[in-house]
Subunit: 232 residues, 2 copies
DNA sequence: CGGTATCTTTAGTTTAACCTAAATCGCGAA
DNA sequence: TTCGCGATTTAGGTTAAACTAAAGATACCG
């Protein structure tokens, strides 16, 4: 705790984005494929391979040719710092500057690379060292610890069991607005009243009344049980 | 007022910095020389010439080979936007996040390129549409109007005449801290009690007592008369 | 009024981060 | 077991923004 972090080199925005994207994709798959990563970064596969090789040389990722890559501990440290910056900024924009939660992602996408460690810490302090951002995503600590909650997608939630919306896995403003219209905002209580077969729609009861929703969309909505939801 | 600004292209950080630097140097000299600009940007003269030619092609600067350059109206519009962002961010860091005024410049130097127009306006609103930043530098309006005050350097201020410190023309943290120790902070009242000949030191009376200061340093300190200083 | 010092520009190189086209790998199906 | 196709990598090219070295312009001084 008391020993200083190694004096930090600075990395290009391209590198920071690359490491962050691997980190986020690793949440879903052990190894991250070149094509998946290329798509997430909106660059071509050859550019992705090239960057992967470069960062493998720098020991920030481990890359097994033709079978994907993973972050090393050093790479993850950097990725977590960027993710922390991103999520702190999102929350700050909402809390301090009156942004609505569906419009903060894009702004944070640029600012996450521009703020100093010092500013990140000032923002964290201002916000009272928060653990979750406006989408319910966990904010890593400055030391790189992440408190991941055990949550269940609405699409798999049991029938007739009240749950609390705790995290939304989609940052697109139109999707977030759509979910909001359906009463699916962070902290809202929901219950599934019917589940149609064959990938059919879910019928929900929210504060706003009865709602019908596509189960593919419901996968983005993560729920906690009513009493667990306090832990945030 | 009600007609939309032309959809704004985006410029690289290098271009924004280049235009901003010309703008700031133009405050002192009609035409900006290649070498002056090169030094301000910490790049070499050939790099400066190259960029000048490129921006001349884009009609953002007018460049007369071998005799310096100026901003065009289009170039100035962009420069003012960056200057506005920079100064709004400086003030915001001080007002909202408890930065001290001598540590905001460097942070703003990076953030000025990263914030959206929307965020700049939110910050301005939060601050109550301010006209001056923590160094007393004027903040251009979103429309590009700058309210420049008629101020006199402390080095040329008359003897035995009270004045109010209104702007400091140096952003270096150590210089700002030095001036602050001498009681020369924005809003402070000063009077020159003696002026030595041959570029000798000035003797001042400030709230903190008698002070002695080099006239070359005193050139950075701009004063207004006591009653004029209200206009800020 | 010419020579020289200083400043500026031109010419050519480098690096990061992208690209397209072509070659190669790996894996499932015949 | 091999064929073929999709995914990946290699090869080679482009652009922005920097650089150094060399050539050219300006201006000042004697």
């Amino acid at each position: 705790m008391s020993d200083r972090p190694a004096p930090r080199e600075t990395y290009s925005e391209a590198i920071e984005d690359f490491l962050k994207a691997i980190y986020l994709l690793q949440q879903e798959h052990e190894r991250v494929q070149t094509s998946t990563l290329a798509e997430a970064l909106a660059i071509t596969a050859p550019s992705t391979t090239e960057m992967a090789k470069k960062l493998a040389r720098a020991k920030l990722v481990s890359h097994e040719p033709y079978r994907g890559m993973r972050l090393t501990a050093a790479g993850e440290r950097i990725a977590l710092e960027i993710v922390r910056n991103h999520r702190l900024i999102e929350l700050f924009l909402v809390e301090a500057l009156g942004y609505s939660w569906d419009e903060v992602h894009e702004e944070a996408e640029r600012l996450e690379h521009a703020i100093s460690d010092r500013l990140a810490e000032r923002i964290a302090e201002y916000l009272g060292d928060p653990h979750f951002d406006p989408h319910g995503d966990p904010i890593p600590t400055a030391e790189g610890d992440v408190r991941e909650l055990e949550l269940t997608p609405l699409s798999e939630w049991p029938l007739h069991t009240p749950g609390v919306v705790t995290r939304l896995l989609n940052q697109a403003p139109d999707m977030l607005r759509y979910l909001s219209e359906k009463g699916l905002t962070i902290g809202a209580e929901v219950e599934i009243v019917a589940r149609d077969p064959f990938e059919g729609p879910l019928t929900l009861r929210t504060a706003g009344g009865k709602q019908v929703i596509n189960p593919n969309v419901a996968r983005y909505v993560l729920l906690a049980e009513k009493d667990e939801a306090q832990q945030r």
